[in-house]
């Protein structure tokens, strides 16, 4: 089977002076895949992710995101990806509808498209009563589900999630993963970082970065076999224990 490659990097590297934050990272991610991007604090995950989403210029190496070059086509990259992190997601002092309109507009959807999408989303998340309420008044779990839905509003090829489930209760965390599964099922590639090792098990494949280098990349089952480990937590500890740097 020939799977469509949506992220392709070749020796992608970022240096800050003498410090090599990300060193010759080479990997591919396929369409509709849930790809877990793991690593200890300071391993270089954020640096690598910034290069992939087109907001940090690599020192050298190549990368294509949704078919666009990370040096020359950063604007096209931004139009074809969604992004959500625990720290930045939605505007708390705008209502749910206003947030949808704002982000729909930023992603270049037409007024009509935004209206259709907005209605769909409100029905899907069961937010009729809350649609005109400020996002700041919603419980954290709802905010995060809404943020994810808005990050994929423009049907991007890839959605980048930077520790999306921090701080939420275990049921909401699982509902969030239900949404991730569904998005992947609909062909959106999900690129996700997390500190919850059980979440690493939900990924089709995971990479583990240690000190700027990708030390392992495979399906969770293969990694466990390879490291003779009982869980992903175990795999992670074996790989990251030897790390030299903190963040």
């Amino acid at each position: 089977m020939n799977r469509e490659v949506v992220i392709k990097t070749d020796k992608l590297t970022k240096k800050f002076g003498d410090f090599i934050a990300a060193s010759e990272i080479t990997f591919e991610v396929f369409k509709g895949e849930i790809f877990g991007f793991l690593g200890a604090n300071g391993a270089g995950k954020t640096t690598a992710m910034k290069m992939l989403i087109g907001i940090s210029k690599p020192s050298y190496g190549k990368a294509q995101i949704a078919g666009f070059d990370v040096y020359k086509q950063t604007e096209q990259i931004k139009k074809n990806i969604g992004y959500m992190s625990q720290k930045f997601s939605l505007y708390e002092d705008l209502t749910i509808k206003e947030n949808i309109n704002l982000f729909g507009g930023i992603y270049g959807l037409s007024g009509k498209q935004i209206e259709t999408k907005s209605n769909e989303l409100i029905i899907k998340l069961n937010l009729y009563k809350e649609a005109d309420k400020l996002v700041g008044s919603l419980p954290l779990g709802w905010k995060q589900k809404l943020a994810f839905s808005i990050a994929i509003l423009h049907e991007p090829k890839i959605v980048f999630l930077d520790e999306p489930t921090g701080g939420v209760d275990p049921i909401t965390r699982r509902q969030f993963w239900d949404m991730i599964y569904e998005a992947a099922h609909n062909g959106i590639t999900v690129f996700v970082t997390t500190h919850y090792m059980d979440e690493a098990e939900y990924c089709d494949r995971v990479s583990i970065m240690v000190d700027g280098v990708i030390k392992a990349l495979d399906s969770p089952a293969e990694l466990k076999k390879q490291f003779n480990a009982i869980s992903m937590d175990d795999v992670f500890l074996r790989l990251a224990r030897g790390a030299q740097r903190g963040d």
Partner: protein, 315 residues
């Protein structure tokens, strides 16, 4: 004497439109020398409880004591005997590592030398960077410095508010090893965490949600009170398996749990379940009875009808 006692503590925060009840009639006590965990997500009320106990916040109602001292009347005495590590990094960013530690020692009328043995284990790892400004430290090192500063006056009780949030699994494990060593020296520790896997490292835990304690006991007893059989289910297509299991008529709850799904049933008809899965194309589905963990218990308790907002949202 109890190390910590709370009786019917209520704390509300008025906002423009409504009043948020952060701590809703919470009572519990902690024994001296205990390692006690407050486990729950953001908004559970953990930080408010810590701030009330460390005399930084007044409760609306109820009474709280720390080593017999009242948090309102005897706040000065309490401040001398507790160490507090807030959830947000609160050291002086423009002081060096050593200056921060010296500063905290000085306000408590002591010196680094006097209590060095207490922090040595942790501070040793920071010493190579002692002239670096705190603001320039890595996340893991900031956490170690914050703990050193909370310990330097030899407190009787340590309050640690989410010390491992956002910290990778390796550093989290190291941090808990440090806590075990501090406990061995007789320090009472109250620690909060959103990570359920850390709960089992505590002597006793309170599982919290929306300002209330859902249960409070040893991790072992909480697991024993789960009260139903739990099964792990695995097959080749985990996504369709999850949906199929949820649609099974006898399913009570089904959640993704790492490499398996965890399932409870209203009626245990295993042959019927196996048949049901086979018909839906799950060949070689593995169903095993397993011991529940704290996270299973937490979710079970959350699903009880007292929940203030709906947990099940339609997707």
């Amino acid at each position: 004497m109890k190390a910590v006692e709370l009786e019917n503590i209520v704390k509300t925060y008025p906002t423009k439109k409504t009043t948020v009840t952060a701590v809703n009639d919470v009572s519990f006590s902690v024994e001296e020398g205990e390692l006690f965990g407050l486990i729950g997500p953001d908004g559970a009320g953990k930080t408010s409880i810590f701030r009330i106990l460390t005399t930084l916040l007044l409760a609306d109602k109820g009474e709280a004591k720390v080593l017999g001292y009242n948090v309102v009347k005897d706040y000065k005495a309490i401040r001398d005997i507790v160490g507090y590590m807030p959830g947000r990094f609160s050291l002086y960013q423009d002081l060096t590592v050593e200056e921060n530690l010296e500063f905290f020692a000085t306000i408590f009328n002591t010196t680094i030398q006097e209590n060095y043995n207490l922090v040595a284990d942790i501070y040793k790892q920071l010493e190579p960077f002692k002239t670096r400004r705190a603001g320039k430290l890595s996340g893991g090192m900031k956490q170690k410095l914050a703990l050193s500063c909370a310990l330097i006056h030899k407190p009787k009780i340590l309050f640690l508010d989410e010390p491992t949030t956002g910290v990778d699994p390796v550093s989290r494990r190291e941090f808990w090893e440090m806590l075990k060593r501090l406990k061995a020296q007789g320090i009472t520790i109250l620690v909060s965490t959103p990570y359920m896997d850390e709960a089992k490292l505590c002597d006793r835990i309170a599982l919290m949600q929306d300002g209330k304690i859902m249960t409070i006991d040893t991790p072992g007893n909480i697991v024993r009170q789960f009260g139903r059989n739990l099964f792990s289910v695995h097959s080749e297509n985990m996504f369709t398996l999850l949906n199929d299991l949820r649609a099974f008529p006898q399913t009570e709850s089904c959640f993704a749990f790492g490499e398996n799904h965890h399932l409870t049933l209203t009626e245990e008809s295993m042959a019927e379940l196996e048949e049901y899965l086979l018909v839906r194309g799950h060949k070689n589905a593995a169903i095993n009875k397993i011991e529940p963990g704290i996270e299973d218990c937490f979710m079970q308790l959350m699903k009880s009808p007292s929940q203030p907002f709906p947990n099940e949202m339609a997707f």
